[in-house]
Symmetry: C2
Subunit: 245 residues, 2 copies
């Protein structure tokens, strides 16, 4: 892990860009972190494209920092400045073709699009976690928040250091990931935008039903794909405060 | 409205029993109410049987009082000490017979059970609201919380003084009430116990979908029929604080 830039934001949060091999990432630590106890960490997921997503990611990170948490994210394979995969690009083109034609999106396309991404991304997030937890300013329980829900599911199953997760329903989920969801036992807080037209609501409900966790909560709200109400973001933050503090 | 008893609880809340004609009820006002501004009111719904439900109703009322709200409830028609309706008793017996036989509960039984209850209860709650809002210690916006969801739906449609509602999914809902739900435009916070075996989950989701409100939130949790987690109760209280304060 190699820090490449550092700046102090107006709320005192320290924002550092880093690279982890070829993977770019960003770490935000609370303003008080250098002088106080190490902070628990929230891994901030996203759909890919750090530059494009950065304002929203930074806003989530600063919200977390205000609650006393460090936050970090890394670029996804095949997104942003990272090399494209021809197979993933083909799967994405096939998906868009099906959507534009108004056809149902076949499981085969979803599998080709999502499963290789999960297989590649999850070990990267675990490697990032190794590096982040070696920093003196980070310690304690780890949460995972948002992004491609299939990555969140796999991480929750295979990574024992993650002790709570906020997941965003709304992307296509392969059937095998729904099966994996039955093995998830950490507390979950799932956000669903009820009126998100690009979202298969029934698939999201089926995935929520599959989770094996004893504490799982679904918060469904209005506002469209990107219109998560502020009170819903606040509720997700309260979930992390309950489980990571 | 005639007060029949009065006692001060250990948290300073004033608990008063009253009758409204033949209907018994209970009013809780915050400890500071006599010395400060009038409190907004939360009407506390329940499935019927004030005596049996009293500990849980009092706990909800005291939570509301701690947030600065008065809270009140009245007995439902045909419950507690109020006269039984032969037709309602017959419908309830038919319902139980269907459930015990493992048969699907026909719409005709649900209509016979719920619609006369809604038709009779809703005007009573509105009369109670008239009386409660005439008290000097109560003023401002009114919320409705819980109980038989069909009563909450009808109240939200016909009673303009109710400006926000927390509804508990889980009881049988006639099709005509689902149609009425499309006319509900006040902010809604709907609680659903996901693993409530006595609950028709799909019917609850269909009802949530039908609501015409721009701000509607569904919180689904684990814990069985009566096992609403404390954090879910806290979230419902925050909803009222956002909308009634």
């Amino acid at each position: 892990m190699h820090f490449t830039s550092e700046r102090r934001l107006d709320d005192g949060v320290l924002e550092r860009e880093f690279t982890l091999g070829e993977i770019p990432g960003i770490l935000w630590t609370p303003g008080s972190a250098s002088s106080s106890a190490p902070a628990p960490l929230i891994l901030i997921g996203h759909p890919g494209g750090l530059h494009r997503m950065r304002p929203r990611l930074a806003a989530r990170a600063r919200h977390s920092a205000a609650d006393g948490f460090a936050a970090a994210t890394i670029e996804l394979p095949g997104s942003g400045d990272r090399p494209r995969s021809a197979a993933a690009e083909q799967a994405r083109a096939d998906l868009h073709r099906a959507l534009e034609a108004g056809e149902p999106v076949g499981e085969e396309i979803v599998d080709r699009l999502v499963l290789p991404l999960v297989d590649k991304a999850v070990p990267e997030w675990r490697t990032a976690l190794d590096a982040l937890l070696s920093l003196p300013e980070i310690d304690g329980p780890v949460g995972y928040s948002g992004g491609v829900i299939s990555i969140g599911v796999r991480l929750a199953v295979v990574e024992p250091r993650i002790s709570a997760a906020v997941l965003f329903a709304g992307s296509f989920v392969p059937r095998t990931i729904v099966e994996e969801a039955r093995q998830v036992t950490i507390p979950l807080h799932v956000l669903l935008q009820w009126d998100d037209e690009g979202n298969d609501r029934q698939a999201a409900l089926d995935l929520f039903d599959a989770f094996g966790a004893k504490e799982k909560t679904l918060h469904a709200n209005m506002g469209g794909h990107t219109g998560v109400p502020q009170f819903a973001g606040d509720a997700a933050a309260q979930f992390f405060t309950r489980h990571l503090s």
